[in-house]
Structure formats: structure tokens, C-alpha cells
């Protein structure tokens, strides 16, 4: 029997407001523990929440960019559950009247576009951070939990997709394209490694062709796009195995263990009714007029799909354009800056989407952590155009620049990679190769071009690989014609 995976993704995005969602504490990442806390975010008796206006504007922005309906009136709910990182014992969230409903994101994967429907986008607050200590740092055997409430109350937007995703690769593409959308809106750092963007996936499988959905398993703790893809592939295989052996899949939450490469059962999933949602009595409704909605729509910047279209129009191939916009973060900004400073768009795109992207993946790092700048790209593509760098040498140069060895000029000089474009020197190298291979020269003159490649190779070897092959070709042709 063949099985079809059905995947829905919940993405949490921390907004980069100055202050928290319901109080004036700083909302930034990385402060010393428990330095951004107050009676509201610690849930001290009598404290009252007041929503951050900026967060509301930004969730509307996200909703509009995702083609959602913006509710004329929406309200907050309390989601009740007990966990030590949740000081109030409830999270202020939204339930049946979220700010945004029914939208979509068109996801490009391998030249195909699939529409993933968005169920809802709602506003809530983040929880504190827990560190489990003792027991060798293992979550199941911890002796105590340490709590930092700096993150408690940071504005969080949850974007819930419909189960429209059918492969791990598609899930990754959806998450990446959503990230670049949120990034382009300027409302979140959307950094996976800092947790300002996080995703959970609901996965089930069903016999191909069936309409009915299988029991869904929620998978958590995927901290990179790669781990999202891996965790889903693992979970789909696991569920297939269970079903094929005739057992059933219980509805549960599973934790992705990155090191072991498996998902593990965490706890039985609480049903929605267990959260005992009720309208938050401390907060009044949010009303967004048509006029206000359109005012916010007018502030939308160029969105990723519009940017991809612009790049394609300027001559890039669609794949390169989409990698620049939705691939590793920060590539697009480097591209724009390099091109503005006179670099050739196609060349820069190739170096960024090819070598640079491969380097970032291999090193599991981000562009900001490398030394590469737009000025470096301008210089390197200039050297290529001038013929002072061969494209194979440029690969080495780029690797050196990424490693922080200096500018392309510095790296090329230090690694002795500047291409020989001095025609006189190449001519003498060609002539000495021909002098020691008179038979080959005879053949060329007789119209037999077979030894041509061999002779080019000999010249390259004689010049230590630094001769410009184009110039070598020209000179050889000239000698053959004499």
C-alpha cells in the first residue's frame, strides 16, 4: 500500500518590538537573565496587561502579506495550562476570533508552485525560558529547572497552515519562504538559531487517495530547516512502519532528537478543551477599520515573490532568484548592495547561490558570521571580468574571503592565484611547449586538431595553472595557422 503524508505547520514568530506585548519591559534577545521583568510579565497580583500597538500593526502586516482576511473585530483568550515557564498559568492568546484568517502562501519548489492555505494568524505572548539542570543536563532526569522570564510576554505571532503540505522538502520550502516573507516585512529577526522563529509540525499519513486524515502527531524541537526536513522524513517513515505492521498511531506530541536523528514520545496531547479557553476579561476587543487596514497595506514593502519577479526580469534564472530571496538569510541584501555598486548581477548571483550557499550549508553557518561583504563581491567579479582571475581560482579566492583571509585581492596574492594575462609570458610558454612537441605542431598545421587540448594542458602546467586559458587558446591557434 502506498501512503501519503499530510503535514500542517505552525510557525511562531517573535516580533522585534522594543517592548513586550503587554508591558513596557524590553523585548530584546540576550539580556542577563531576569533583568527584563515587571509585575505584568511575572503575573504579580493585580497587574494588568495593555497590548502593544506596534505588535497589532505588525500582525496585520503579516496577515495582509499572507493574503488573509483581517477581522474587523477580534479578541484575546486565555489558554490555561500549568508549566513553570508560564507565570500566569495561562497564556494570553487568541482562539476563535484571531486577527487574521484564511490566507495562503504560494510555495516554489523545484520550479513548481503549490498553494499552501493559511488557516489563521493570531497574536499571543511568548513564555519564559527553562534550563534543566543536574542529571547530566538530560531533560528526563533533571534535578531542577532554572527560569528566566525575560522572554515571557514577548509578542509572538502564530501562523497556522492548513494540512496542505505533502513532503518534507515542501515543508522546508514553505518554512523558508515564510521566513523570507516575515524578514522582508521588517517585523521580526526571524532567526532560527535565536529562537525568534520556531516551527512545530503536525504529521499524519493516510492511504494514498483517502480523504480522511489519520491521527496526527505533533513534532516539536526542530531548530533548523534541515532538522525540520529530517524530522518529518523520520516521522513519516516511522508512521508508515507502524501502520504497515497493523498497529495504530496514537495522537501525541513527539520531540525531535537532533543528535539521535529520531522523534520520541513526550506527553499525550492535551485536547483543545483541556486548555479551557475563555475570553480574556482584562483586555477589550481589537477593532481594525477598513481604513486602518488599507493604511497598513500601503506600508507593505516589496514582497519576496515580487522581488523574485524583478530579479528574473533583470536576467537571473528563476532558481537563482529564489535562492537569493528565500535561501540562506542575508544573500539577498549582499546581492542588492553588490549590484548597486556596479557588479554584474548574473555573476554575483552565481557566486552567491553556488559556492557561497554550499559553503554556508557545509559549515552550518550564516552569511553574517562570514567575512564576505558586497565590496568583496564587486572586487572579485571585477577581477574575473579583467581576466586576472580564472573561475577555478575564484573558487579558492571566495573560500579564502569567507574564511576571513582578507579581500579577494589579498587572498589571490597570498595564495598566488592571480592569472597570468601578460601575453608575452604566455607566448614564450606556448613556444617552448611547441618546441618540445614538434609532432603535435605538425598535426595542427596539417588541420588535425586532436593534440590541441593536450597542448593547452601542457602550457597550463608550465605556467603553474595561472595562464588565462582563453589567451593560451588564441596564441595556439595563431601558431597553428602560421
Amino acid at each position: 500500500m502506498s501512503w501519503e503524508p499530510v503535514i500542517g505547520i505552525e510557525v511562531h514568530v517573535e516580533l522585534k518590538t522594543n517592548s513586550k506585548m503587554f508591558c513596557g519591559c524590553r523585548a530584546d534577545f540576550g539580556a542577563a537573565p531576569n533583568t527584563n521583568i515587571c509585575p505584568v510579565c511575572l503575573a504579580l497580583p493585580g497587574a494588568l496587561p495593555v497590548p502593544n500597538e506596534q505588535a497589532i500593526e505588525w500582525i496585520v502586516r503579516i496577515g495582509l502579506a499572507l493574503n488573509c482576511t483581517i477581522a474587523p473585530e477580534s479578541i484575546f483568550h486565555r489558554k490555561n495550562y500549568f508549566y513553570a515557564d508560564l507565570p500566569k498559568n495561562y497564556q494570553i492568546s487568541q482562539y476563535d476570533q484571531p486577527v487574521c484568517t484564511t490566507g495562503h502562501l504560494d510555495v516554489d519548489l523545484d520550479g513548481e508552485t503549490t498553494r499552501v492555505a493559511i488557516n489563521r494568524v493570531h497574536q499571543e505572548e511568548d513564555t519564559g525560558k527553562s534550563i534543566h539542570v543536574g542529571g547530566g543536563g538530560r531533560i528526563h532526569s533533571a534535578e531542577a529547572t532554572l527560569l528566566d522570564f525575560n522572554r515571557a510576554g514577548v509578542p509572538l505571532v502564530e501562523i497556522v497552515s492548513e494540512p496542505d503540505i505533502h513532503s518534507p522538502a515542501q515543508a522546508r520550502a514553505y518554512a523558508q519562504q515564510l521566513r523570507s516573507l516575515v524578514e522582508s516585512l521588517g517585523v521580526s529577526d526571524a532567526k532560527l538559531e535565536e529562537g525568534s522563529m520556531r516551527f512545530d509540525a503536525n504529521v499524519s499519513i493516510r492511504p494514498t487517495g483517502d480523504e480522511e486524515l489519520g491521527a496526527k502527531v505533533e513534532v516539536k524541537n526542530m531548530n533548523s530547516f534541515r532538522s525540520l526536513e529530517r524530522a518529518l522524513a523520520y516521522e513519516i517513515d516511522r508512521q508508515t512502519e507502524v501502520r504497515e505492521s497493523g498497529r495504530r498511531i496514537p495522537q501525541e506530541t513527539r520531540h525531535w532528537d537532533e543528535a539521535a536523528g529520531i522523534t520520541q514520545s513526550m506527553r499525550s496531547k492535551e485536547g483543545s478543551s483541556d486548555y479551557r479557553y475563555f475570553a480574556e476579561p482584562d483586555l477589550v476587543p481589537i477593532v481594525i477599520s477598513e481604513e486602518r487596514r488599507e493604511e497598513i497595506r500601503a506600508t507593505l514593502p516589496e514582497l519576496p515573490h515580487e522581488r523574485i519577479a524583478r530579479y528574473v526580469e533583470s536576467g537571473l534564472d528563476p532558481h537563482a532568484a529564489s535562492v537569493l530571496v528565500s535561501g540562506e538569510m542575508g544573500l539577498g541584501a549582499l546581492f542588492e548592495e553588490a549590484v548597486q555598486n556596479g557588479a554584474d548581477p548574473k555573476q554575483v548571483a552565481n557566486w552567491l547561490t553556488g559556492e557561497t550557499t554550499a559553503y554556508l550549508r557545509k559549515r552550518e553557518t550564516t552569511i553574517e558570521r562570514t567575512a564576505l561583504t558586497a565590496a568583496h563581491l564587486v572586487q572579485m567579479t571585477g577581477m574575473l571580468t579583467e581576466g586576472r582571475l580564472s573561475s577555478s581560482a575564484a573558487k579558492d579566492v571566495l573560500a579564502g574571503v569567507l574564511e576571513g583571509e582578507g579581500s579577494p585581492e589579498d587572498v589571490a596574492a597570498a595564495r598566488d592565484l592571480i592569472q597570468m594575462s601578460d601575453t608575452g609570458a604566455i607566448e614564450s610558454a606556448v613556444d617552448s611547449v611547441l618546441a618540445s612537441n614538434p609532432d603535435a605542431l605538425e598535426k595542427l598545421r596539417g588541420g588535425d586538431m586532436k593534440p590541441f587540448g593536450f597542448l593547452v594542458g601542457q602550457v597550463m602546467r608550465a605556467t603553474g595553472g595561472k595562464a588565462d586559458p582563453k589567451v593560451v587558446n588564441e596564441i595556439l591557434r595563431d601558431r597553428a595557422a602560421r
Binding site: 537573565p33 531576569n34 502593544n52 534535578e143 529547572t145 513526550m266 483586555l283 477589550v284
Partner: protein
């Protein structure tokens, strides 16, 4: 109208460890409350506008401005336990 209550489940959601005697005691009390709610639900609300809030005001927002936070030392001193600037609590992963 008798209402079926899974009292053990309700107790678990509230993180209350109750004895069997307590469970049946509270089950009876909760039944009375739910019975009352059921009677309220019988009221004809056809012409009543749904309301989530008794106040008629909307959009009570604040500007995105940072206000001073509390002094950490003072806050942590009031917690039963703290360590290196963190609140320290018993391990809290649910394993049921």
C-alpha cells in the same frame, strides 16, 4: 439534567492531588455548578448581541515604549529559591 464529569481529569488539569473521598465530594459540588450553568444556557438569547466584555470600549493600546523593569535582586529575594540570576524550581517536564 445530570452532567457527566470526569473529576479525576479535571483535578489533573488543575494539578490537584485529591483523595477518592475528595474526588467524589467535589464531583457533587461541581455537578451543582454545571447544572446551574446548564439552566443559564436554556435562556433564550436570540435577540442578545454576543459580548466578550462588559465594557463598550475597544482598542485600549499602549505605544511601543520601554519602561524600567524591576530590580532583579529584589525580585529573586522573594522567590523560595534562586540560582545565578534564575528562579529555581522543581523539575517540571511532564512525563505521564
Amino acid at each position: 439534567m445530570p452532567i457527566d464529569i470526569d473529576i479525576a481529569h479535571v483535578a489533573r488539569l488543575a494539578r490537584l492531588g485529591l483523595s477518592d473521598a475528595e474526588l467524589s465530594h467535589y464531583q457533587a459540588q461541581l455537578a451543582v455548578i454545571l447544572d446551574h450553568a446548564a439552566r443559564v444556557q436554556e435562556i433564550d438569547t436570540e435577540d442578545v448581541k454576543p459580548t466578550a466584555h462588559p465594557l463598550s470600549m475597544v482598542n485600549a493600546f499602549r505605544r511601543d515604549e520601554v519602561r524600567p523593569s524591576l530590580d532583579r535582586t529584589e525580585v529573586l529575594e522573594q522567590a523560595p529559591e534562586h540560582e545565578d540570576g534564575y528562579f529555581r524550581v522543581p523539575p517540571h517536564l511532564e512525563t505521564q
